[in-house]
Symmetry: C2
């Protein structure tokens, strides 16, 4: 993903690559060293932009992508926000365990203010913060508890992935769950599955995941008995 | 490639995707609609940033990438600069022929002011404009003439690509040549081959390309007889 910040010396925008995950409310997070251009820029001006979108074959402008304009918030370390975000980030990027606890690394929450979704040539849509993130942070204890439960359930993850993707096979794992959906990862492949609407409790999310395994031919979960 | 401009309404950086090629002096160029966020941003403030770099498997931060800070110059249309850049752009992106001549499309030259090359964790290098582009625009007639000659030489292109890449096979074509090097494209694959130092004439560049076919085991072109 590309992150653009304002260069504190020149005022130029500066685009660089960033590893991202999300907080429980859908807010994108990055992990950055105090020595990085990201941190130096965001320390002086919290305005930044994220560009996300799969690259496929052919003209890159024909593929969907989204530009977010965000305000960055430094996450205090130590602190409960840091612990929650760290756990979700490592579920998404296990190899970041190598440096996440280096003394100069901090998380930033990049809180979306607006966005532009581009679905290909001439198909652009303006989005507001409400379209992108939840208004309030869900109960971390409740959702992280489910995340920890799912972390070890690789058979369930692979069975759910099998239902949700046309690419068959692979050893999938749950890489995070929040009220809006869940992430599945198998090596370089990744699925984000959004619920039709945010779940009010983690129990409802877990029930939904179980129901995916009994979807009918139209891809709609069957009513539970 | 990601391009970040300054949003004229909010002052936020705004990162989006752009199709790029280069001018004869190595300056990156983009083609943009007057309706695009790029154009609206650059019309008000020419400061922008390009992020380039191949994405590979695993951690995206482990792969080399470069961040350029550039000043954008609108290319007058009609005009000789437009014609030259248009020809080079279409050699790189033939499908852009579908829209390049739409009345609201213009090229911008994104003239690099500085850059940061990141070769992976902890390996960052600052570069100046001299490291990135030529000080003067080479003679367009001379170089475009060679480009037109090479355009039809697909057998030569495939033979040269065979020498320069370990991925064998493919129908290669020359997609552009300039004093600093040349581009080869085969479907989704692309090779940029840089000369050891810029060539003073297009004849010298052509002689070099011919000599690639007789490289020895150390990959150094043999002296010509």
């Amino acid at each position: 993903m590309a992150l653009a910040v304002l260069d504190p010396q020149t005022g130029f925008p500066s685009a660089s690559r960033a590893l991202t995950a999300t907080d429980l409310d859908g807010v994108p997070v990055i992990l950055a060293s105090a020595l990085s251009g990201h941190t130096k820029g965001l320390a002086q001006d919290p305005r930044c932009s994220l560009l996300a979108g799969e690259l496929g074959k052919g003209d890159p402008l024909a593929h969907p992508r989204i530009t977010l304009q965000c305000l960055a918030e430094l996450v205090d370390r130590p602190g409960p926000d840091h612990d929650r975000i760290r756990e979700r980030f490592l579920d998404h990027h296990p190899k970041a365990a190598l440096y996440v606890d280096f003394p100069d690394f901090r998380f930033f929450r990049l809180v979306p203010q607006s966005a532009s979704l581009n679905g290909g040539f001439g198909r652009a849509y303006a989005l507001g913060a409400d379209d992108l993130v939840l208004a309030e942070l869900p109960d971390p204890a409740d959702w992280l508890d489910l995340q920890r439960t799912l972390r070890g359930m690789s058979d369930l993850a692979s069975a759910v992935a099998e239902k949700l993707t046309t690419e068959k096979g692979g050893a999938w794992r749950f890489a995070g769950i929040d009220p809006a959906g869940f992430d599945l990862i198998a090596s370089e492949r990744q699925i984000r599955h959004e619920f039709q609407q945010p779940m009010s409790t983690s129990q409802a999310a877990y029930d939904y995941i179980s129901s995916v395994l009994t979807v009918n031919a139209r891809g709609i979960p069957s009513p539970k008995n």
